[in-house]
């Protein structure tokens, strides 16, 4: 029963051919004055070619650091990639790769879309310059052809009169347009992996819809794999095939999007879903997760979610939980409920979750407290 998902094949052995990205026991720590922040603390997952993966978590859960570590965009120090971490991308281990070689991959085979398009675009270069820069670098084409490719990629993301747009600066574009430019830039070299870090968080809901539809379309057309980082479970439900849920630097649950969102098995995921306001819960209280995310300097000793968990018992503060696999392959939850010791408590917890998802309406408001 203690079979964990985090056990990869053999260290140093490349994964199967159809696995594009294989992250194995990756740990990224930050050494700061006050101590060590384990921002990412032993996460493992793999992503097949052309598939979509969602990484969900609240701020501070380590999801952005995961992406930056994979892209090798973190400054070392203060960041520190702990010995034993492995990231296999397209058959090669990239964490130990010389930085020059990494530069040839980054932007070409793996590209990233950042959250805030205004701060990630350079204000003193035109949009065209910024897109054609990496085209020139990676595809070794002439400036003129690079410019044509830039225009072409702007057209594919739905920007009208791209010939004019390439000469404009980021401040001349609206938020949605800038995010389209970011996507165009990321797609300009037709990457195998596209990492989108909260691509729509800064955007309005109608523009978010535009961008999500666009991402879906281009991802299907180019066949690239998508790693979508977000805190919005709604976006995840729309976009991805598989989900991993992160909490305090660890994976607490993974599975397909249907499994994780419809039958969550980690108390944290349950809590997240319960706390989303919906019309079914109208008239009652939302069942909020108590407390706040623990300070990275002062993590709970065993289960990191234990102080906030409604189902926790003694074992949760004494034994460090593993990622226990459940039923089907690839499905796992980091919770003692899924060990023999917790099996008796599991049905009760699931029932409580089921009630919390629907019960709002039936609770009399006066006693909701």
């Amino acid at each position: 029963m203690t079979e964990t998902l985090s056990a990869p094949a053999v260290r140093g052995v490349p994964p199967a051919r159809d696995v594009l990205l294989d992250v194995r026991d990756m740990r990224t720590h930050f050494r700061v004055l006050d101590g060590v922040v384990p921002a990412v603390d032993g996460i493992s997952f793999s992503l097949r070619r052309g598939q979509t993966l969602g990484i969900v978590g609240e701020s501070g859960s380590g999801k952005s650091v995961t992406a930056l570590t994979i892209m090798r965009l973190l400054d070392i120090p203060p960041a520190e990639i702990v010995e034993g971490s492995e990231v296999w991308f397209d058959g090669r281990e990239i964490l130990s790769m010389p930085i020059d070689e990494m530069r040839r991959i980054r932007g070409k085979d793996m590209a990233m879309i950042f959250q805030e398009p205004l701060t990630s675009l350079n204000p003193v270069f035109t949009v065209g310059d910024q897109i054609s820069e990496q085209v020139k670098l990676h595809l070794k084409v002439k400036p003129k052809e690079a410019n044509e490719r830039a225009i072409e990629s702007l057209r594919t993301v739905g920007i009208n009169s791209p010939e004019r747009r390439v000469k404009q600066y980021p401040h001349e574009l609206s938020g949605g347009m800038r995010q389209r430019v970011m996507i165009a830039m990321a797609l300009s070299c037709e990457p195998k992996l596209l990492i989108a870090d909260e691509p729509t968080t800064a955007l309005d809901v109608t523009i978010q819809a535009q961008i999500l539809e666009l991402l879906k379309t281009v991802q299907q057309r180019t066949g690239s794999a998508l790693m979508l980082i977000t805190h919005d479970l709604g976006v995840v439900a729309e976009m991805v095939d598989n989900v991993i849920v992160m909490y305090a630097g660890q994976v607490v649950e993974n599975g397909t999007v249907h499994e994780v969102l419809l039958e969550p098995r980690a108390p944290y995921t349950m809590g997240l879903l319960e706390s989303i306001p919906s019309v079914e819960k109208r008239g009652g209280r939302l069942s909020a997760i108590q407390g706040v995310v623990p300070s990275p300097f002062n993590l709970p000793p065993a289960c990191r979610f234990q102080p906030r968990c409604p189902y926790a018992w003694e074992r949760c503060s004494q034994v460090i939980p593993n990622l226990y696999s459940i039923g089907t392959s690839g499905r796992a939850s980091r919770c003692h409920l899924h060990t023999p010791e917790g099996a008796s408590r599991l049905p009760g917890a699931l029932e409580q979750h089921r009630l919390a998802m629907t019960v709002g309406r039936t609770l009399p408001t006066g006693e909701a407290r």
Binding site: A237, S275, V279, R369
Partner: protein, 540 residues
């Protein structure tokens, strides 16, 4: 958080006056003018006296300055009288002039060694004071005797009926319907806030002379009512004017046009000083829990500042109320000496809520109170707001762009687009049966956390046009999918649609073709849309 915490409003001893009629305002102005002139005359007489008395210029200055200083202090003391009347003003100014004279005399005596109160100087001081009292008192008496003034004071808050207000406002465009709506609903209990024809325009300044080169029509003619005890939500994208509307409604920025009636008071007509007791009843919770708390103030001051302004000047009393407020929002009582940086985002937002709540308001504008928070913290704050609403009988104006939160949280909703309300109705009306193409698109854009409900979205083309140059006719016509379906009818670009009733009295929509919207059309449009072209309708 304990239920039923003893939490009381500060008793603000202050009567509300509506602005006196034109005649009295003129009289008041005249009085101030006379007092000013008298003051100047007195000062000049002093000057003449000293000049004639063959003293050096420096001596004169030395004698003058303390007196002038005291007069200024006395003037401001008079101004800050809590429940000030003209009487107290006159008295204080007279005292000020006397003090000025004595001050001058004192300095004169100290410097020259002989008494300044002999001879002409004393005479002039007395003369000046008498002159002022002689002119000021009859006017003040006249005002006190004025019937309306008297009644306003006697009756306490002057209740203005909706009819009275509307009778004055009929010249404001698009108001007839509002009048009908107000007339249909009694001003008591039912409606707490009525907004009629509210506009807020901001000038765009340009050129060397900073002249007005354009106008941002942030809020451009909005009518709605908020009923006591309900949650009225305003939804819309950024730039649609929802925040400006919230602030203008509270008179935090003066409206360009239109009326806001709060519990019978027409806020535009209430005098600046008399807004204070009303402001206690209308509070706001801001969006950004990091920007809205002063980093250099401890929590006791952040929350206590409002109490102080409302007359709770005793430190102990104030601290106790601050602690009560902290307890009510689920924070510990001993947090009062901490600074904002010591709190997490959710806790800061609770401090913001405590600040609004400390004054025991009736009405709170919640301006995106949860959009800066994580999901799990968001639900904590939403629960808190709902509890407080129930425990303290609050009414909320809930401003948000998150349609899931709004659906859960509110009773009635106004959808805003480019400074106008395009659709208004109960939650059921709007979410089950949207009657404006913009609302349909907004609802379609909500990402739902249920993979079974993955759907083809109805995606709007382009971005929101600039509020400085809103499109002609219906403001939504440049992005409207329904107009496209109907073959681009001319009326959308030429005639501005009214917010008209549809069937039930509650549900209103500003679309010429509201009746043409149905699920089949929406699905057909969504299915045939080309995603890549969605950015097409973007003005350069």
């Amino acid at each position: 958080m304990t239920a039923g915490t003893t939490f009381r409003a500060p008793k603000v001893r202050s009567r509300l006056r509506t602005r006196p009629p034109e005649r009295l305002r003129n009289a008041k102005g005249l009085l101030y003018g006379v007092i000013g002139i008298v003051g100047i005359v007195v000062v000049l007489l002093f000057a003449a006296f000293f000049l004639l008395s063959s003293e050096g210029a420096l001596d004169i200055l030395i004698r003058f300055l303390p007196g002038v200083g005291i007069a200024i202090v006395a003037f401001f003391a008079a101004r800050s009288f809590r429940d000030r009347t003209l009487w107290s003003f006159v008295a204080a100014t007279a005292i000020g002039v006397f003090l000025a004279g004595f001050g001058a005399a004192l300095v004169f005596w100290v410097v020259s060694g002989r008494s300044g109160l002999d001879g002409n100087s004393g005479f002039f001081i007395v003369l000046g004071a008498l002159l002022m009292a002689g002119i000021g008192l009859p006017i003040a008496t006249n005002m006190a005797g004025s019937r309306k003034w008297f009644l306003a004071k006697q009756a306490g808050p002057a209740v203005v009926t909706a009819d009275e207000i509307l009778a004055e406002t009929s010249e404001i465009v698009g108001l007839e319907e509002g009048m009908a709506a107000i007339a249909a609903e009694p001003a008591k209990g039912g409606t707490l806030i009525s907004v009629r024809g509210l506009k807020k325009h901001f000038p765009i300044l340009g050129g060397i002379l900073r002249r007005r080169v354009g106008t941002v029509y942030a809020v451009d003619g909005v009518d709605f009512d908020v009923r006591a005890g309900e949650v009225f939500a305003l939804v819309g994208e950024s730039g649609c004017g929802k925040t400006t509307l919230g602030r203008t409604l509270l008179q935090l920025t003066p409206p360009t046009a239109g009326k806001v009636v709060f519990d019978g008071y027409e806020l535009g007509d209430v005098e600046e000083d008399d807004m204070r007791p009303l402001r206690r009843r209308m509070q706001i919770i801001f969006q950004d829990p990091f920007g809205s708390l002063n980093p250099r103030m401890p929590v006791s001051d952040i929350i206590g500042e409002g109490l102080f302004a409302q007359g709770v000047t005793d430190r102990k009393e104030r601290d106790k109320r601050v602690e009560d407020a902290l307890e009510v929002v689920g924070l510990r009582r001993d947090y009062t000496r901490r600074f904002p940086h010591e709190f997490s985002g959710g806790q800061r937002q609770r401090i913001g809520v405590a600040r609004a709540l400390a004054l025991n308001p009736d009405f709170i504008v919640c301006d995106e109170p949860v959009s800066a928070l994580d999901v799990s913290i968001q639900s904590q704050v939403l629960n808190l707001l709902l509890d407080l609403k129930r425990d303290f009988n609050l009414t909320y104006l809930f401003i948000s762009h998150n349609l899931s939160v709004v659906e859960y949280f509110s009773d009635r909703i106004g959808v805003m687009y480019l400074g106008k309300i395009v659709e208004l109705g109960t939650v059921e009306d709007l979410y089950r049966d949207p009657r404006h193409p913009y609302t349909v698109a907004l609802l379609s854009a909500i990402p739902e956390p249920d993979p079974r409900r993955r759907k083809k979205r109805l995606v709007l083309k382009g971005d929101v046009p600039s509020p400085a140059a809103p499109p002609s006719g219906c403001r939504f016509h440049t992005r409207c999918w329904l107009r496209e379906q109907l073959g681009n009818p001319e009326i959308c670009a030429t005639t501005e649609p009214e917010l008209r009733n549809l069937g039930g009295a509650e549900h209103r929509s500003a679309c010429h073709f509201a009746e043409q919207i149905n699920d089949a059309t929406v699905e057909r449009v969504a299915a045939t849309q080309s995603v890549v072209e969605t950015a097409a309708a973007d003005p350069a």
